[in-house]
């Protein structure tokens, strides 16, 4: 197989790169600044493209590679691949489902907890030395509230007095909020959505969901529209594939339905969310908080979010564990080998 030309669309994983180099004639697209020149020279030797969530195979690339047989994506989402074009030309497509489900669902719960319990802000506060210096208030916003002294002996025994606002006075999400028992709404109840639901159930959260059609095999509450789902949950999680239908599925109306006590979690794709609307809602306090692993123009993240305490921002790490990236790489390699040995594909999509 050493003579088979494989084009890697962008850097994604060192182990995968090394293994591809061992087995195939690997071209790294990013090594060639002049794409047209590169494609002219190698169009007839490239039979496979390896893509991911950043770059895949659009119609233009597919058209320029006459001998292309297979596109293997180092991701579960296929939004960077022109699937219709692949079908039309008989090009096979594979992704990496299942192996990353747990990690993405874990991160979704991690983001919910981090937003509700202000974990990153707590960590920043300790690292800044403010705790040691006796500045006990985590946020200046708190000073607006009437303080009530706290009963819990742990707190006072640790050498200081901590004050928290009474529950009646707490509006919005200016302080820690309990996760257990909060209602969780999930957009897209596929493998990842189900993984999130299963985990949230262990926190006694009532689960509801939106999908195009109601699922007959689950007991979760179904809403036939995203607006209704957002109006009836406190935490809204985006876990559906990105398609033309789901682009900007989180728009101003949905954000307003979720409201100033609501939290949005996005572990899907950046373009699921109308980012301008999200930023203005967060800045204006019309949304309680957000945990975002994906953004519309990665790696660019709106700078207006950098100063907000009710927002947690991670650099698209949903599947970013050593174990899972290895399993994903092995699936990409397995699919390519199966294809070129005329064996059944491991995880075919087209």
């Amino acid at each position: 197989m050493e003579s088979i030309g494989v084009l890697m669309a962008c850097p994604m994983n060192t182990y995968l790169e090394q293994e591809l180099e061992k087995r195939f004639n690997l071209f790294k697209f990013w090594d060639f600044p002049d794409k047209a020149l590169f494609l002219d020279a190698h169009r007839n030797s490239i039979r496979a493209v390896v893509g991911n969530a950043t770059a895949g195979a659009d119609a233009e690339l597919i058209e320029s590679l006459p001998r292309l047989e297979i596109v293997t994506s180092f991701s579960v989402g296929l939004d960077k691949i022109d699937l219709a074009k692949c079908r039309e030309k008989g090009i096979r497509v594979t992704n990496t489902p299942d192996v990353l489900t747990e990690d993405v669902a874990d991160l979704a719960i991690g983001l919910i907890l981090a937003v509700l319990r202000r974990l990153c802000e707590c960590d920043r506060y300790v690292r800044s030395g403010k705790w040691r210096r006796g500045d006990y208030r985590l946020t200046t916003k708190l000073e607006a509230y009437t303080h009530t002294s706290f009963l819990h002996s742990d707190i006072v025994l640790s050498g200081r007095k901590v004050e928290i606002p009474s529950i009646e006075l707490l509006s919005g999400l200016n302080y820690h909020v309990r996760f257990t028992g909060k209602s969780v709404g999930i957009i897209g109840l596929g493998r990842i959505g189900m993984g999130i639901a299963k985990r949230a159930e262990a926190f006694s959260c009532p689960i509801s969901y939106y999908t195009r059609t109601e699922k007959s095999d689950v007991n979760y509450k179904y809403y036939p529209s995203v607006i209704e789902l957002a109006s009836n949950c406190q935490i809204l999680v985006v876990a559906c594939p990105l398609t033309e239908e789901t682009r900007h599925i989180i728009n101003r109306e949905v954000i307003d339905a979720l409201g100033p006590k609501g939290v949005l979690i996005n572990i899907g794709r950046g373009p699921h969310v109308d980012e301008r609307e999200l930023v203005s809602a967060l800045v204006e306090g019309r949304l309680g908080g957000a945990g975002l692993d994906v953004f519309e123009r990665e790696p660019e993240v709106p700078e207006e979010l950098f100063g907000l305490e009710n927002v947690v921002l991670t650099p698209h790490i949903g599947s970013g564990t050593v174990e899972t990236r290895m399993a994903m790489a092995d699936l990409v390699l397995g699919n390519l080998e199966a294809h070129f040995l005329n064996k059944p594909l491991l995880t075919p999509v087209v």
Binding site: D106, L113, L170, T324
Partner: protein
């Protein structure tokens, strides 16, 4: 005292001067509150002696000690209602001798602390706070990918202290595909998790330790160098119990030498001092002792205190009675 108030049951507020009760208005609607500290210069002893025969219930605020001396001044006392989860400030022996019932905060804090333990664990493994710093510092466009994290699914989690918090942690982490083992003063017959008699064996058979037991003379520094070494260099420790459960100096050294994988800490040995070596590490998550601190916990605590008192005076089952034997 109005006529109406005279008909309400009497509750003694037993508190140290630094502790103010924050929800007296709610208590006032159900009870007549007696607070010796509001009657100075009369001494507490004299105040208690004067009201001794009418006091059947005592509310101990925070860590205010309930000693045998206090109890001997209150011959009519039938119940001690505590506002904390631990009751090591109450003379349990004396209460048992006198047939005085004791209630704790019960599970009012358990869910929030368990949530927080899971939050710290996911944060350490998946580098959430580190990723958040990376993005906010504008490093993503420049550096490309941030360092990879470690998978939670399939990890062996050892719970140090399977009380109400530990049980809630176990229940949550089962849903993440973790296997659960524990060590506790004695084996719990009601659960199927693997039991280890000592923390060394637990650590040797775990990838993650969640520390959530009570601090006593027996448990001080129970997470020592040997235990942490047994956990290994990929191992992660989460502490939502007390700082002194861990030998903090050793923990810092092991983290600096890469002999332990990471740590999520809500508590420290010498709060609010946090070892400065930790402040620059990306494999630790640091929190200023506030795992219990949500308005919901606070409301639940009020509910359990008022609920226990109301149940007592109406001869109904108590909500969170502590077994004294």
């Amino acid at each position: 005292m109005s006529t109406q108030e005279q008909h309400l049951p009497v509750v003694l507020i037993h508190r140290l001067p630094a502790f103010n009760l924050s929800f007296t208005s709610r208590l006032h609607t159900h009870f007549t509150l007696l607070d010796p500290l509001l009657h100075s210069p009369e001494s507490t002893e004299s105040f208690l002696t004067r009201h001794a025969t009418s006091i059947r219930a005592l509310l101990s605020v925070g860590p205010t000690p309930v000693t045998s001396e206090t109890l001997s001044l209150l011959p009519a006392l039938e119940i001690v209602v505590c506002s904390s989860a631990g009751i090591d400030h109450v003379d349990i022996h004396e209460c048992r001798q006198r047939g005085v019932l004791v209630t704790s905060a019960g599970n009012a804090f358990s869910e929030d602390v368990a949530d927080y333990a899971v939050a710290l664990l996911i944060d350490v493994l998946r580098r959430v706070s580190a990723g958040n710093r990376f993005v906010r510092a504008g490093l993503w466009p420049e550096h490309g990918e941030s360092p990879l994290g470690s998978k939670l699914g399939g990890k062996r989690v050892g719970i140090v202290g399977l009380g109400s918090i530990g049980s809630e942690v176990a229940k949550r982490l089962m849903a993440f595909g973790c296997s659960i083992a524990y060590t506790s003063t004695k084996k719990k017959l009601a659960v199927s998790y693997t039991f280890y008699e000592n923390v060394n064996d637990l650590a040797a058979n775990s990838n993650i330790l969640i520390v959530c037991c009570a601090l006593t003379d027996q448990t001080r520094h129970m997470i020592n160098k040997d235990v942490m070494t047994a956990l290994g260099k990929e191992g992660v420790i989460v502490n939502v119990g007390r700082g002194a459960l861990i030998d903090e100096k050793e923990l810092v050294q092991l983290l600096l030498r890469g002999e332990i994988g990471g740590a999520g800490l809500d508590v420290y040995e010498n709060e609010p001092h946090v070892p400065k070596e930790l402040l620059t590490l990306d494999n630790v998550v640091l929190s200023p002792h506030l795992a219990v601190l949500t308005p919901e916990s606070f409301a639940a605590l009020q509910d359990v205190i008022v609920g226990n008192l109301l149940a007592f005076f109406s001869k109904k089952p108590l909500l969170s009675q502590v077994q004294l034997d």
